[in-house]
């Protein structure tokens, strides 16, 4: 159904669509990150596509890939009833230079979603009016949903109480509790 949308984008931006596929009717295009905002504007304003709604915008961390992050936007056309998933790959393997143009001027809903994406992954949305952390506190260091963020690293805002035997009060020691929550990935060991 929305395969025609993919064709439209390919025709309008030759060379900017790096790849496209359709899995169970979900059409996906992977685009050049420098053309991210222009393609989004075309998809929103062209009457044949008319993607009025930005359903979701997030990112995925593939630490073994280069570029490392995949920014994912889900678009939906309220008037036409079709959907499109748009991806762009950004970022060096060390997590730097993860920059992509903001689509906040097109969809207001992108404001908080881009802030969340920045907070969790450290993707910089250029042109965003107020790119601050939204879930974590300003004092927080690092981006917790990056795969190289240590699974057991916490950054308490206030010091924990200094009472004897507090480790024996819940939550238990590091060897107790849910081990799967603290699993370490192979690539993290390699760095050490």
């Amino acid at each position: 159904m929305s395969q025609r949308v993919v064709e439209q984008v390919k025709k309008q931006f030759p060379g900017a669509v790096l790849e496209s596929h359709s899995q169970h009717g979900d059409d996906t295009i992977v685009v050049d990150p420098s053309k991210w905002a222009e393609i989004a504007q075309f998809l929103k304003e062209n009457p044949k596509t008319s993607m009025e709604m930005l359903t979701d915008l997030t990112a995925v961390d593939y630490p073994e890939r280069e570029p490392r992050f995949e920014v994912v936007a889900h678009l939906y056309s309220l008037s036409k009833g079709h959907r499109l998933r748009m991806k762009a790959r950004v970022g060096d393997s060390d997590g730097k230079h993860a920059e992509i143009p903001s689509v906040e001027p097109l969809w207001g809903s992108a404001n908080w979603m881009e802030r969340e994406c920045y907070d969790m992954f450290g993707v910089i949305f250029k042109g965003h009016p107020d790119l601050r952390r939204i879930l974590m506190y300003p004092e927080f260091e690092g981006h917790p949903l990056r795969k190289d963020y240590p699974a057991n690293r916490t950054q308490p805002l206030i010091e924990y109480r200094d009472v004897p035997n507090i480790e024996k009060l819940p939550p238990f020691g590091t060897d107790e509790g849910m081990s799967f929550g603290r699993q370490t990935h192979q690539f993290m060991n390699d760095e050490e």
């Binding site: 879930l135 974590m136 506190y137 917790p144 963020y149 699974a151 057991n152 690293r153 916490t154 950054q155 308490p156 805002l157 206030i158 924990y160 109480r161 009472v163 507090i166 009060l169 819940p170 939550p171 238990f172 509790g177 849910m178 929550g181 603290r182």
Partner: protein, 193 residues
């Protein structure tokens, strides 16, 4: 009534006249345990069970703990209901500091007690890392019966004048115990019939 634990416990009949003796501290603790003004610090889904406990079906007011005060300065009992994130930890600490002595803290549910399954960067692994806690109520969320049991534990603790961190002391079974006030009251009614 039987709550006034002394060397001897006996129910004063309505027809009787006289006086009872007890220690002042016991009387004070007896009054405190039935006049808990609560501050609900409700952050998560446990709040639904908290509403069930406070609403008429389970009715926490039977235990003298029904009056919520949304200023910590007027509250005795801090209910920490739900997950405490690292971002909320300073707020919780400050509310606890604003409460006047004597004050008690209940950890309602697994998340407040130990962080629950949130073993990650964002959740405080148990409120006792921040403030001292008197009673932990397990459950995800705990059933209202469990909450009332926790409240009774706290009342036992208050009656003992115990201010140590949460360690559950052995309790007597009210159904078999001979010196429990409620049981005596029932026996007394039966004997009257």
């Amino acid at each position: 009534m039987g709550e006034l634990k002394g060397t001897e416990t006996r129910i004063i009949e309505p027809s009787e006249q006289g006086f009872a003796t007890t220690r002042f501290q016991d009387l004070l603790h007896w009054a405190q345990k039935y006049s808990l003004f609560m501050y609900p610090f409700v952050t998560a889904c446990c709040g639904m069970e908290f509403m069930a406990v406070t609403s008429p079906r389970y009715d926490v007011s039977r235990f003298g703990a029904e009056a919520p005060r949304f200023s910590p300065r007027q509250a005795d009992l801090l209910w920490v209901v739900g997950t405490i994130s690292q971002r909320q930890a300073p707020i919780l600490r400050r509310i606890w500091e604003q409460m006047a002595e004597p004050k008690w803290v209940m950890a309602f549910g697994t998340c407040a007690s130990c962080g629950g399954f949130y073993d990650n960067y964002t959740t405080v692994p148990g409120l006792d890392k921040i403030i001292p806690c008197d009673v932990y109520i397990p459950g995800c969320p705990p059933r209202p019966e469990a909450v009332l049991d926790g409240l009774l534990l706290l009342q036992d603790k208050i009656a003992r004048g115990d201010r140590t961190p949460a360690i559950v002391k052995p309790r007597t079974d009210p159904a078999t115990s001979q010196d429990h006030g409620l049981v005596q009251l029932r026996k007394n009614r039966e004997s009257m019939v």
